[in-house]
């Protein structure tokens, strides 16, 4: 690509915008995925002892 050609600024702007928007979208998505997984792990850890105590022989 000729960086000094006419209108090459529009090409830079288009590619720059695409990288920024796609990068931000992927970052948001990954952040949500991690937070959701962490929240589920926290809930499972919180509920696990309760489940265990209800199934022990002493409780029965």
């Amino acid at each position: 690509m000729d960086l000094t050609a006419a209108h090459s600024g529009y090409v830079f702007a288009a590619y720059g915008l695409t990288f920024v928007v796609l990068g931000f979208t992927i970052w948001l998505h990954v952040r949500r995925a991690r937070r959701t997984a962490a929240r589920l792990a926290g809930l499972e850890a919180r509920q696990a002892p309760r489940r265990r105590t209800t199934t022990t022989r002493e409780d029965a």
Binding site: Y10, A13, A14, L22, T25
Partner: protein, 242 residues
């Protein structure tokens, strides 16, 4: 292998775990190769000059935006007819990515239009119908955001996806049905593409790269949706138990 097998969320999660690295890796490789072909190998167009390189990101974004909406409409039909538990979640997970692709198609098209047409925007049939597609995505996302009860939100969102799908063939054939400033079909047309191979190949590789990127994002987002629904069920169970 029956695809319905993977309508079970647990089976889907195990499939997603094994497929995800391949999808992500393939998307990265295809996009890197496509960028190399588009920015280094492809020559400038004899009329458009360097501006033709915007096509390698504009056209795949537009294709993927239309494909994503078609996928959402298909998922909505499957949700109504076959009651697959993952179908609504798949459509919901796809919508934000579709909106991003539609936005990028509009924005990069505008950046191409200014040097080539002398204007950022015209209310042309192709441009307007693509803008309507972007609004449909926003409307679909708004339905899920506005209605708290998932089953009610899903019922309305399915209608938005299926009714809105009528816009997809309008976008595709708008350049044939109306006099348009936008160029006519030059890739998927009867009689074969009219684009020279040095321009066509980067376009096709980038198109495939965007499609696989969507698939990678969709698989990952669907996993998040499944986990989010599990959280909701656990929270409801916890609230009822306390």
């Amino acid at each position: 292998m029956r695809i319905e097998k993977y309508a079970n969320p647990a089976r889907f999660l195990s499939l997603q775990k094994s497929v995800q690295p391949w999808l992500t890796g393939s998307a990265v490789v295809l996009i890197v190769v496509g960028l190399y072909l588009g920015l280094v190998v492809a020559p400038p167009d004899y009329q458009q000059g360097e501006t033709v390189r915007i096509m390698f990101i504009h056209v795949p974004a537009a294709w993927t935006a239309m494909m994503t909406y078609t996928f959402m409409a298909a998922c909505s039909i499957v949700a109504i007819v076959m009651r697959h538990p993952l179908a609504d979640m798949a459509a919901k997970a796809a919508a934000p990515f579709g909106a991003v692709f539609a936005f990028l198609a509009l924005a990069t098209g505008s950046l191409w239009g200014k040097p080539m047409w002398g204007t950022w925007w015209v209310w042309d049939a192709r441009l307007t119908s693509t803008f309507v597609l972007f609004l449909l995505y926003l409307g679909y996302i708004a339905v899920w955001q506005a209605i708290e009860e998932p089953s009610r939100a899903a019922a309305i969102a399915r209608i938005v996806a299926i009714v809105g799908f009528i816009n997809v063939p309008i976008i595709k054939f708008s350049v044939d049905w109306w006099h348009s400033l936008h160029q006519g079909e030059s890739v998927f047309r009867m009689g074969g593409p009219t684009i020279y191979p040095t321009i066509l190949w980067p376009l096709l590789v980038m198109g495939l790269g965007y499609t696989v990127m969507f698939a990678a994002l969709e698989f990952s987002a669907l996993r998040t949706e499944v986990l989010a629904r599990r959280i909701r069920q656990m929270e409801i169970a916890e609230a009822q138990g306390s």
